[in-house]
C-alpha cells in the first residue's frame, strides 16, 4: 500500500493516470477479444453443423432417393456419434420425416418438442424456402438439401461417362443436423475466464512496469524538490545532479544556477552587514570620541587659563615655572589628541574646494621622501592630467601623511612605498563585494611592501587607539583620523592586505568632472 505522502505525490498521479489508461485499454482489448473469440466459436459451431449436414445430405442421396430407412439409420447414426450432435432428422422431398434420431439425455431439452415431425415440417413451411439454420433455445438445427443430379438431355447422357450436358439438380429431401448450443456456453465461460486472467496479469505487469518507470522518472524531480525544500528552510544545498537534458534536467540546471546566485547574494549580504556593523561601530566610537573631546577640550581650556594666570603671578625666575611649563606641554599634547579625536569624529570644519590629487602629492613629495627615511624607497605614479575631487586639501594632506607614516612604520627594514592616483569608474556589476556606490571616483592608493596584516587586525585598524606598534611609538589615532576625513568627504577607504603580501589602502573620493569643476569655480 502506498504511503499517504506517496498518494499525494505527482508521481502517484502519473502512475494512477497510466494505470487507469492500461485498465481501460485492457478492458477494451479484452472485450474485443471475447467478442472475436465468441464469434469464432459460434462460427466454428456453424461450420461444423453446416459441414455435417452437407456431408450427410451428400452421402445419403441414394437412400433418400430410395427412402430406405434402414440404410438411412446407419448413415444418421454415424453422424449422431459426433460430439455436439443431439439430433438428426431426414425429410423427403415432400418434407415429411423419413427418419429421426436423437440423443436421450435428461439434461437436454428435446429440440423438437412432442411432435418432431410436425415441428420440422412447420418450420420449413413457415419459412417458405428452406432456411439454412433453425435456431432454438438450447439447440441449432442445420439444414441441407439432398440433391439428385440429372442431366438436361437425359437421352444422350445416360450413355456416356463423360457427359457433354449441363447437370440439373433435383431436391429429393432434406437433412437437419441439430447441435447442442451448450458448447457455446462452455466455450464462452472458458473464454471469459481466460481473458479475465490475462487482463489481470496484463494489468499487474503493466502497473509494476509503470510504477518502476515513474519512480525512475520522478527520482530527479524528487531530489530537486528536496533541495528546494532545504533551500526554503535556509539550509546549505548541494548541487542537484543533472541526469538528463530534458525538462527535468534543465530545471535541475536552472535550480543549480539559482542556488549559486543565492549563495553569492548571501555572501554579499553578509559582507554588507559586516560593513554596516563596522560603520555603526565606528560611528558609535566617533560619537563617544566627539563627546569626550569636547568635554576634555573645555577642561583643558580651563586648565590652560589657570596655568596662564599662575604663570603670570610667578616671578620670572621662580623655580615653580619649570612645572608650569611641563603643564603647558602636557596641555598642548592633550589638545593635539583632542584634535585627532575631533577629526576622527568628523566634527572638524571641512573647507571643500576642487583640488587636484596629483598636485597635492607633488607638493608633498619632498616632505614625504624625508619622512620615509633612507631605507624606504618612495615611488609616486601620477597621471598627466589633473584628477579633481571636491576636498579639503589640508585634510587630504593629512590622509597622505598618515598613510605614508603607517606604511613606513610597517617597513622597519626598508621597502617600497608606492603612491598613485587614478580615475576609476565603479559599475553596478553583480558580485561586487564592497561599496562605493556606482559612479566615477578619484582614487588615491598607498601601498607598502611590509609584512601585511591578518584578517583580525584588518577588521580593527580604523578603530581609535588600536595599534600594533610598540608602546609609545604610535597614538593609535592615525588611521582613525584618515577614516574620519574620508567619511567627511563622502568617500570610501578600502584596505587589502594579506600576511606577507604587504598592504594597500585605496581612498575613493567622488570625481569632480570638468563641467562640474567649471560650475563650482563660477559659483565662487
Amino acid at each position: 500500500m502506498p504511503t499517504k505522502s506517496f498518494r499525494k505525490s505527482f508521481g502517484f498521479k502519473v502512475f494512477r493516470s497510466f494505470a487507469l489508461s492500461i485498465l481501460v485499454v485492457a478492458i477494451v482489448l479484452s472485450a474485443l477479444l471475447v467478442y472475436y473469440q465468441n464469434s469464432m466459436v459460434k462460427k466454428d459451431l456453424y461450420k461444423e453443423g453446416t459441414m455435417l449436414a452437407d456431408m450427410l445430405a451428400y452421402s445419403i442421396r441414394t437412400w433418400v432417393f430410395a427412402e430406405n430407412k434402414d440404410m438411412l439409420k446407419d448413415a444418421v447414426q454415424g453422424v449422431m456419434g459426433q460430439k455436439n450432435v443431439v439430433a438428426v432428422v431426414v425429410y423427403n422431398a415432400d418434407r415429411q420425416v423419413l427418419i429421426i434420431e436423437k440423443k436421450q439425455s435428461a439434461d437436454k431439452k428435446d429440440p423438437f418438442g412432442n411432435d418432431p415431425a410436425a415441428a420440422g415440417k412447420m418450420r420449413m413451411e413457415q419459412a417458405g424456402i428452406i432456411p439454412k439454420t433453425a435456431e432454438r433455445e438450447g439447440t441449432i438445427g442445420f439444414l441441407s438439401p439432398v440433391v439428385l443430379e440429372t442431366y438436361k438431355n437425359m437421352e444422350e447422357a445416360i450413355y456416356f461417362e463423360e457427359s457433354p450436358k449441363q447437370s440439373v439438380q433435383h431436391v429429393i429431401g432434406y437433412v437437419e443436423v441439430v447441435l447442442d448450443k451448450g458448447v457455446l456456453r462452455t466455450e464462452m465461460r472458458s473464454i471469459l475466464i481466460r481473458n479475465a486472467v490475462a487482463t489481470l496479469l496484463f494489468l499487474l505487469a503493466g502497473s509494476v512496469a509503470i510504477y518502476i518507470a515513474v519512480r525512475r522518472l520522478m527520482r530527479p524531480l524528487t531530489n530537486l524538490a528536496a533541495s528546494v525544500r532545504s533551500l526554503g528552510r535556509g539550509e546549505t544545498v548541494a548541487q542537484v545532479p543533472v541526469e538528463s537534458m530534458d525538462e527535468i534536467g534543465r530545471l535541475a540546471t536552472d535550480f543549480n544556477t539559482m542556488s549559486d546566485n543565492l549563495k553569492k547574494r548571501e555572501a554579499e549580504k553578509e559582507l554588507l552587514e559586516e560593513k554596516l556593523r563596522y560603520a555603526q561601530k565606528m560611528e558609535a566610537v566617533g560619537t563617544l570620541a566627539r563627546g569626550i573631546a569636547h568635554d576634555f577640550n573645555n577642561i583643558l581650556a580651563t586648565l590652560r587659563g589657570s596655568i596662564y594666570l599662575i604663570d603670570k603671578k610667578l616671578p620670572a625666575h621662580d623655580e615653580l615655572r619649570q612645572y608650569t611649563r611641563q603643564v603647558h606641554g602636557s596641555i598642548a599634547r592633550a589638545q593635539n589628541l583632542i584634535r585627532g579625536l575631533l577629526t576622527f569624529s568628523r566634527t572638524q570644519r571641512i573647507n571643500f574646494r576642487p583640488a587636484d590629487l596629483g598636485g597635492i602629492i607633488r607638493r608633498l613629495q619632498p616632505m614625504l621622501t624625508n619622512m620615509a627615511g633612507e631605507g624606504v624607497h618612495l615611488k609616486v605614479s601620477l597621471p598627466e592630467g589633473p584628477v579633481m575631487a571636491m576636498s579639503d586639501s589640508v585634510q587630504l594632506e593629512q590622509i597622505l601623511m598618515n598613510l605614508c607614516a603607517n606604511g613606513r612604520d610597517a617597513m622597519p627594514d626598508g621597502g617600497v612605498l608606492s603612491i598613485s592616483v587614478e580615475m576609476v569608474t565603479v559599475g553596478s556589476e553583480a558580485g561586487r563585494q564592497y561599496p562605493p556606490a556606482p559612479g566615477r571616483y578619484a582614487v588615491m592608493s598607498v601601498r607598502d611592501t611590509g609584512p601585511g596584516m591578518d584578517e583580525k587586525t584588518r577588521e580593527r585598524i580604523f578603530e581609535p587607539y588600536f595599534t600594533t606598534k610598540d608602546v609609545g611609538k604610535g597614538t593609535g589615532l592615525g588611521l582613525a583620523i584618515v577614516y574620519g576625513i574620508v567619511k567627511q568627504h563622502r568617500g570610501w577607504i578600502w584596505v587589502e592586505s594579506e600576511k606577507g603580501e604587504g598592504t594597500i589602502f585605496r581612498v575613493y573620493l567622488p570625481l569632480l568632472e570638468k563641467n562640474e569643476e567649471d560650475m563650482e569655480n563660477k559659483s565662487r
Partner: protein, 301 residues
C-alpha cells in the same frame, strides 16, 4: 460426228470431260459434335474413313451457337454430319443442307423437326440384348427390367416377344416416377436371374444406378446394360453400339445422299455391337464366362 481437225470441237469436248463428275465421293462435310468425347471422335474417324470427303470438325459445346452457324454457312458444306443428340437438334437451324446423324439413342424417338434427317442411331434391338444375355448367362431363365411405357413401351414388347421365343420369362415393372424405382428394384429380389438395364430416362439416373448395383451385389443378380460406362461402374456385362462402325455407316449414307441428291431419308440402327464384360464383378457374383464369349468381348475392369 465430230471433226477431229476442228479445233473448236476439240476444246468443247475437253471442257465437257472436265465438267463430268470424276468420282462417287462427296465434297466438303462439316462434322458437328455435341462434345469432344472419345466415342464421338471415334464416330468421326469412322465417318472420314468411309465418306472419302473433306471433313472439318466443330465442337458444339465449345463454341457459341451463332458462331457455329456462321462457320457452317461460311463453309457451305454439301452435308452436315451431326454427332450426338445436341448436334442433331442444332442442325435443324442450319437450313437447306442435308443432315446425317450418328450417336443418337433411337431414330424412332426423333422429333418432327428431325424427321428429315438421315443417319444411324445407337438403338440395339431387344432381340440382340436377349441373345447377348443368354450368351453370357446361358442359365438365365428370368430377365427383369424396369421401364417407363412412354419411352420404352415398344422395346419391352419386343423384348417380351424375344424372351418368349427363347423360352425364358421377362419380368418387367412399369413406372413413370423415378422415386418408385428403388421399391421396384427391391420387389425383384428372388424373382429374376439377370436384370436388363434399358436406356429409359425415367429409370436411369445416378442414384437409381447406384441402388441397382447395390441390389445386384447384395442379391447376386448380374446387371446387363446398354453402355460401357455402367459396366465400368459395376454392371456385370453390357452391349453397346460401336461408335467407329456407326461413323462408317454414316459416311456411307452421306455418300448416297450426296450422289443421289433425291432427298431420300436414309435411317439405320447400329449394325455392329460390342459385348463388354467386367470380369471382377463376374468373379464377385460367382459367375463363370465361357472362353469363347470372353474371347470376343471387351473388358471393362
Amino acid at each position: 460426228m465430230l471433226n477431229k481437225r476442228d479445233p473448236i470441237s476439240v476444246v468443247l469436248l475437253f471442257l465437257l470431260i472436265l465438267g463430268l463428275p470424276v468420282s462417287a465421293g462427296a465434297g466438303e462435310i462439316v462434322a458437328l459434335k455435341s462434345a469432344d468425347i472419345q466415342p464421338y471422335n471415334e464416330a468421326v474417324e469412322g465417318f472420314m474413313k468411309s465418306c472419302r470427303c473433306d471433313v472439318s470438325e466443330i465442337v458444339l459445346n465449345e463454341t457459341a451457337g451463332r458462331d457455329v452457324l456462321e462457320k457452317i454457312r461460311d463453309a457451305d458444306p454439301e452435308a452436315v454430319f451431326a454427332v450426338g443428340m445436341d448436334a442433331l437438334n442444332f442442325s435443324k437451324t442450319i437450313g437447306n443442307v442435308p443432315v446425317v446423324y450418328s450417336m443418337v439413342p433411337n431414330s424412332q424417338l426423333l422429333s418432327v423437326a428431325q424427321q428429315n434427317a438421315s443417319g444411324v442411331s445407337m438403338y440395339i434391338s431387344p432381340e440382340k440384348f436377349i441373345a447377348a444375355i443368354l450368351e453370357v448367362f446361358p442359365h438365365a431363365k428370368k430377365i427383369g427390367l424396369i421401364f417407363d411405357a412412354r419411352h420404352s413401351g415398344s422395346f419391352v414388347r419386343d423384348a417380351d416377344s424375344a424372351c418368349r421365343a427363347r423360352g425364358i420369362e421377362l419380368v418387367a415393372e412399369k413406372t413413370s416416377r423415378p422415386g418408385d424405382i428403388p421399391t421396384l428394384i427391391d420387389s425383384m429380389r428372388g424373382r429374376i436371374d439377370v436384370f436388363l438395364m434399358v436406356p429409359d430416362v425415367t429409370v436411369i439416373n445416378p442414384e437409381s444406378v447406384k441402388y441397382l448395383l447395390l441390389f445386384s451385389f447384395r442379391n447376386k443378380v448380374p446387371v446387363f446394360t446398354f453402355s460401357r460406362k455402367y459396366v465400368e461402374m459395376g454392371s456385370a456385362a453390357g452391349l453397346y453400339a460401336a461408335p467407329y462402325d456407326m461413323g462408317l455407316q454414316a459416311g456411307e449414307i452421306v455418300q448416297k445422299i450426296v450422289s443421289e441428291k433425291n432427298g431420300k431419308v436414309i435411317r439405320a440402327d447400329a449394325r455392329k455391337t460390342v459385348l463388354v464384360i467386367n470380369r471382377k464383378i463376374m468373379n464377385k457374383l460367382g459367375i463363370r464366362i465361357r472362353g469363347e464369349v470372353l474371347g470376343r468381348a471387351e473388358y471393362a475392369d
